[in-house]
């Protein structure tokens, strides 16, 4: 059974974090309308005037590149697209009426947008006390930096994480890239499900503020509580050695190895250099291995560099040593592990074609979600909303469409 069947969501979202929140909810059966602008295309639909071939199926932008971009199409499965100009009174009235028939409104633009549009929680809740409104600005709705714009990498900097990640003596590192966005997406979905749980019992909706930087800081909570700066040392840790990624056969090919005890080291040492190395006092204890870590890394790299990273990782794991190939996107596509988890679902997109799509790691016996439809084409849901959801009279539909309030092709130059 899909747990959110019958729940309707309106998304005023862009890029990754907001759409991922909607994606998680639609995974569970919610009906979501991703509101898009005809004048300012979602960056994840790419730039129509400068299409980058790398983002499209078969490297071909086609006639509708904005419908073929992997970024948008990855995060908007199961959704409908409503392209409407909110500055056009007729366009706004469409969205306002849709919100009135919905359960949840998600916004991941800067603070104040909903109020400016007349869609702020205070106003909406007077007429719709059961509405749930989620705003997810990077730095929160109030505070000296709340007006700052952000992207995943800058949020990682602001959250204190990047300064914890670096080569020795180097600058801060952003990861992922944009690792903060999916954290924000999951947090927003969690907040909405929490509010729905409360609403099921009380009939009341509420307003949720999700400051993405603060929410992500939960992931380094112990470090924040300790209050002591982490001095980054590449992949090294104070209490585990070896702990690093080592070169393997192939270009930019690596295997990660982590040895958590002297016993594990003895096993690894025998695989590398037999009993002689296992007895080598330079490495026989954690303290010794830390003191000789550069030599240790060189020794292991000299052993791994010509080996297949997948086979080596499997061999090490079989011996009880934590290891993994440092996998690439292509590895994941061909991963027997993810195949076993049914991570991918084949979906038909009318413009991008039929492809396997990555899923979500959420597995349940009674409330299993799924990817059911590919991401929507630009404005695909416009007439569906006018006719099926709002059930407007034909004359009004004609007037709205004639006004230019809606579109199925982005305006030139956006």
């Amino acid at each position: 059974m899909l747990p959110l069947e019958g729940t309707r969501i309106v998304e005023l979202t862009t890029a990754w974090a907001g759409p991922m929140a909607g994606r998680i909810l639609t995974w569970y059966g919610a009906e979501s309308f991703h509101v898009e602008s005809p004048n300012r295309t979602n960056t994840w639909r790419s730039n129509r005037d400068k299409p980058n071939p790398l983002t499209y199926p078969d490297l071909d932008p086609g006639e509708r590149p904005w419908d073929r971009c992997f970024t948008f199409n990855s995060q908007n499965v199961n959704k409908r697209s409503l392209v409407v100009d909110l500055k056009n009174p007729l366009g706004f009235s469409v969205v306002r009426r849709l919100v009135a028939m919905s359960d949840v409104l998600i916004c991941n633009f800067r603070p104040g947008l909903l109020e400016r549009l007349g869609l702020g929680y205070e106003k909406l809740s007077r007429e719709q006390p059961d509405i749930i409104v989620v705003e997810m600005p990077a730095y929160g709705l109030a505070g000296p930096e709340s007006g700052y714009a952000a992207l995943g990498p800058t949020m990682e900097m602001a959250a204190g994480m990047s300064a914890m990640i670096s080569y020795p003596g180097g600058g801060p590192t952003v990861t992922g890239p944009s690792y903060m966005d999916p954290i924000g997406g999951f947090n927003a979905a969690a907040a909405i499900l929490t509010a729905l749980h409360h609403r099921d019992r009380t009939g009341l909706g509420q307003h949720i503020e999700l400051a993405q930087v603060e929410a992500a800081m939960q992931f380094i909570g112990p470090e924040l509580i300790a209050g002591v700066d982490v001095v980054p040392d590449g992949n090294h840790l104070p209490d585990v050695a070896p702990h690093n990624a080592y070169p393997a056969a192939g270009d930019d090919s690596w295997v990660a190895i982590a040895v958590a005890s002297d016993d594990q080291w003895a096993k690894l040492a025998r695989m590398i250099g037999g009993d002689v190395l296992a007895r080598d006092v330079r490495f026989s204890s954690l303290g010794a291995r830390k003191a000789n870590e550069a030599d240790l890394d060189r020794l292991i790299a000299g052993w791994t560099f010509d080996q297949d990273r997948h086979a080596l990782a499997a061999r090490l794991q079989a011996a009880g040593i934590a290891a993994s190939a440092v996998e690439t996107a292509r590895d994941l596509v061909n991963s027997p592990y993810l195949e076993k988890r049914r991570f991918f679902t084949e979906l038909d997109h009318p413009v991008a074609g039929r492809h396997r799509h990555p899923g979500l790691p959420l597995h349940s016996e009674i409330a299993q979600g799924s990817a059911r439809t590919a991401a929507p084409s630009y404005g695909e849901g416009n007439e569906y909303v006018l006719r099926e959801i709002l059930a407007l009279p034909e004359a009004e539909i004609t007037a709205i469409l004639a006004s230019g309030a809606m579109a199925t092709v982005p305006a030139p130059g956006v």
Partner: protein
Amino acid sequence: MRGALEDLVVLDRSGTIAGQFCGKLLADYGADVWLEIPEAEPDIASGGSGQTRTPLDLHLNLGKRRGLPAATPDVVLCAPDENPQATRTEFPVAVVVRITGFGDDGPKAGWRAPEIVLQASSGMMISNGIRGREPLYGTGNRASYAAGQAAYVQILASLRVRAKIKQGDIIRIDAAETAAAMCFPYVLQAIYNGTDRRRGDQDIPAGEVLCRGSWVCLWVYSNRFAALCKFLRLETCLTDARFADAQQRSRNWPAFFALVQEEVHDRDPDDFVAELQAMNIIAARAYRISELRGSRHLQNRGFWRRLKIEGDEFVVPAPPFRMSLTPAIQVGGNADATA
């Protein structure tokens, strides 16, 4: 009202960061969470040995009670060696949650899964660091926290179905699969056209510069390039062939940011970020942990909470989201505290 989840009783015997973080979120929003420390060693990051008042314990277990609940639990976060089927037999309408590294079946079942292994297998780590050097993993236990967050989401989804069909559930979350799902979606790009993106491939108009004592990351989209050059008195860049258009700039960002670096090395990082943001240039300071405690913004927002436990004082971060009707539980905390 105690919180949005005040009707829930949770038994957290997971013993892992992932499970205990999930339990923490449930407690933050009102559930009655009971903590037991299992003896079995997990395959993913441990939540600790039960020692109280450590930073890890404070973060994961504040607001939980230790022991067993008198009431039948609605949610059970399984111990590492716990058979979820048996637990469901014991509690037929409970939502039983098992979080592991690589699952109980499949080609990697039973693999040891410390953080670096989870991140390596996720497709994320290969994006980090400098091409030619070892890829960097994201310090901390982010795959475990993400798995806990995923478990929280699935628990609330399952409880909605349970309310209708009056049956319990078994939830299975793999930290490895969660980490893969948190990756930038290059996997769909690989499916679309066979390309295999990694470090150095990203066409990103961004760079980092070291201001007075702190690094600042800034993104220079094409429509802000001229404004930044004028602001930093780098007008010569506007006529420099290396930076003539977006394509040229993407090839020459290191050279451009080297010039920016010369101009900003003695600037105050907070002032510089504020100036850039005022020009609609996205920027942020790379805070160190110790600097975050002093952030005027976070203090102003009441992000830090000061706790006193048996005479000792601790400062902890606020829960992840703020709900207007059912605010998160404050365990002896003072939202106005400054660190």
